[in-house]
Every structure is written in structure tokens, then in C-alpha cells.
Amino acid sequence: MDITQKALSIVAKISGKDAAALKPELELVADLGIDSPKALQLLLDLEDELGLEISDEDAAKMDTVGDVLAFLTPA
């Protein structure tokens, strides 16, 4: 499983959605219902399972599924 698939499976687990249905344009709060407690889960799971550190500034920029994936796989 590559890093994108791992990240999508984490977002799917926390939002309760199917990973295959997670499109980049979906908004974490408005479309997936990721409120503050769930966002904490998401960030800490991403850090733990992918072995990286996400700063508060980077976390604040993550509005959509695409933003999460872009952070993990920068161009």
C-alpha cells in the first residue's frame, strides 16, 4: 500500500466513508464531517502511521482531501 492509499484509508476510517469515494475536492469539514476531535485523530494517525510530523501551519492549510494528499506527496 503506497502513502496515498494509506492516507486515504486513514481519512476513510475517521470519516466513516468508503476510501474509493474520497475525491480530492471533498472538504474535510463540510463534506466528510471531520470536526475538531476527528481532525485531531486524523493528524495524529497520519503522523503515527506514516512516520512524519505535521506542523500547526501545515495542518491549518488542509481543507480538502486533495490538500492532505498534496502535503504527503509534494510536487
Binding site: G16, S36, P37, A39
Partner: protein
């Protein structure tokens, strides 16, 4: 005129109020006959082998809990972190806590929540500091255990140490939760529950059930403390 914490005048007033609040709380606490009715062994275990726990009690017990935490935990070397709201009241609480050597993080479940929760998570994991998390703070609903505290416990794998605390004679302020201010020389009872681990694998409905279980537990511990001193719950009695 409002008290603006960012103005020089406001900052001085808050500083003076913080000093006064600290001394009033300590002086009042010194007169109370405080008794741990149940669960003293959890405090002793924590002091014997310090580790991060999430201290939880209801918001309207904040005046009661200050001296209790100071005498029994902070004064005995346990590192404590407090989440204080970004409001003017939060500024006052933050200043009082700093004078007691408590690390404060500003934010709440509703404003600046994520950043504050991450800062508390870091304090637990990196400094081994025990956060005070008031599950129905800062603005209620009354006795509602908010999910943020449950998720913090789950993600940090630090146990929640819940406790109920009650005074026999007290004043009740006209705040949303009828905050309890114990009268001098009154009896105070503390009932400390078993440390509560929130399993890492819980999600969705299972996590909600865990939240509801913790809510009932904290209500029960508070009622046990009230029964021990023969007190009534003014907040619940006056609820619509």
C-alpha cells in the same frame, strides 16, 4: 466598559485580579475540611510513579478543584497543563495558573480547538504533563462530556482520572452552570474514580458509547461526593 486584555489598563487589572483570585482561592481552600472519601489510592499511585493522566471534573466545580489540585498534586510535584479559553475569563484563569506553576494552553473545543488539543497532546507525550480537561467547559451544555476529551485520551493513551467534588455549604453564582463557590470552613468531599483508558481502536458509534459511559461516570462520582457532604446539586435542580 469592557476589560480588554490586550490594553495596558486591562492587562494590569487582569494581573491584579489574578493575584487576588489566587490568594482568595488559597485562603478559602485553607479553611475547608477537605476529605477524599474514595479513591485516595489513585492519587498515591500517581505520586509514587508520576505519569500523565487527564484530570477531569465538571466546570461548576472549578473553584473547589483549584485548591484540591494545588495541595494534592501540583504541590507534590506533578506537572500540570490547563486548557484555558481564549476569552477574558480564560485570560484570568491562565494568569492564576501561571502563578501556581501550571502550564497553560489557550483554546477551546469551539475556537482554536485543534491547535490547542495538539499542544495538550504534545504536553502529555513529550513532557509527561497531566492536563486538566473540563469536559463541559467552557460554556456547556451542563454535564455534557465533550468528545474532544475522549479523543485526547484515546490518541495519547493517557488515562482519564475523573473525580467528583462537592461542598456542604456554598454560594452558587448565576453563570450557565451555577458555578459553586464553597463557603469558608465548610466540608468538602472528593470521590476519585478508577483511571479510564480509552481503547485506541474505537471509532464511530463505539466511541460515542464510550463518551456516554464517561459522562455517566463523572455524574455518578459528583453525586457520590454530594451525598458524602449532604449537598444538593444547584445546577441540576435549577435546570429547565
Amino acid at each position: 466598559m469592557g476589560l480588554d486584555k490586550d490594553s495596558r489598563h486591562g492587562s494590569i487589572l487582569i494581573s491584579v485580579a489574578a493575584r487576588l483570585a489566587r490568594w482568595i482561592m488559597l485562603a478559602l481552600g485553607w479553611t475547608w475540611n477537605t476529605r477524599v472519601v474514595k479513591g485516595q489510592r489513585h492519587i498515591e499511585a500517581l505520586l509514587a510513579e508520576p505519569r500523565a493522566v487527564i484530570l477531569s471534573f465538571w466546570h461548576n466545580r472549578i473553584f473547589l478543584s483549584g485548591p484540591f489540585v494545588y495541595k494534592n498534586l501540583l504541590g507534590k510535584g506533578l506537572a500540570i497543563t490547563l486548557l484555558a479559553s481564549q476569552s477574558r475569563d480564560g485570560e484570568l484563569v491562565s494568569r492564576v495558573c501561571k502563578r501556581w506553576g501550571v502550564n497553560t494552553v489557550r483554546g477551546s473545543a469551539s475556537r482554536g480547538g485543534l491547535q490547542a488539543m495538539r499542544a495538550i497532546h504534545r504536553a502529555i507525550k513529550r513532557q509527561g504533563s497531566s492536563p486538566i480537561m473540563i469536559p463541559d467547559g467552557p460554556r456547556g451544555p451542563l454535564y455534557h462530556f465533550k468528545p474532544g476529551v475522549v479523543v485526547l485520551a484515546q490518541m495519547s493513551q493517557a488515562p482519564i482520572l475523573p473525580y467528583g467534588i462537592a461542598a456542604r455549604k456554598f454560594w452558587s453564582l448565576k453563570s450557565w452552570d451555577r458555578i459553586v463557590v464553597p463557603r469558608p470552613f465548610t466540608d468538602v468531599a472528593v470521590v476519585i474514580g478508577e483511571p479510564q483508558m480509552v481503547p485506541r481502536h474505537l471509532a464511530g458509534e463505539e466511541l460515542e458509547q464510550e463518551r456516554q459511559r464517561l459522562e455517566k461516570l463523572l455524574i455518578d462520582l459528583t453525586q457520590q461526593a454530594e451525598a458524602a457532604v449532604g449537598a444538593t446539586d444547584v445546577a441540576r435542580a435549577s435546570a429547565p
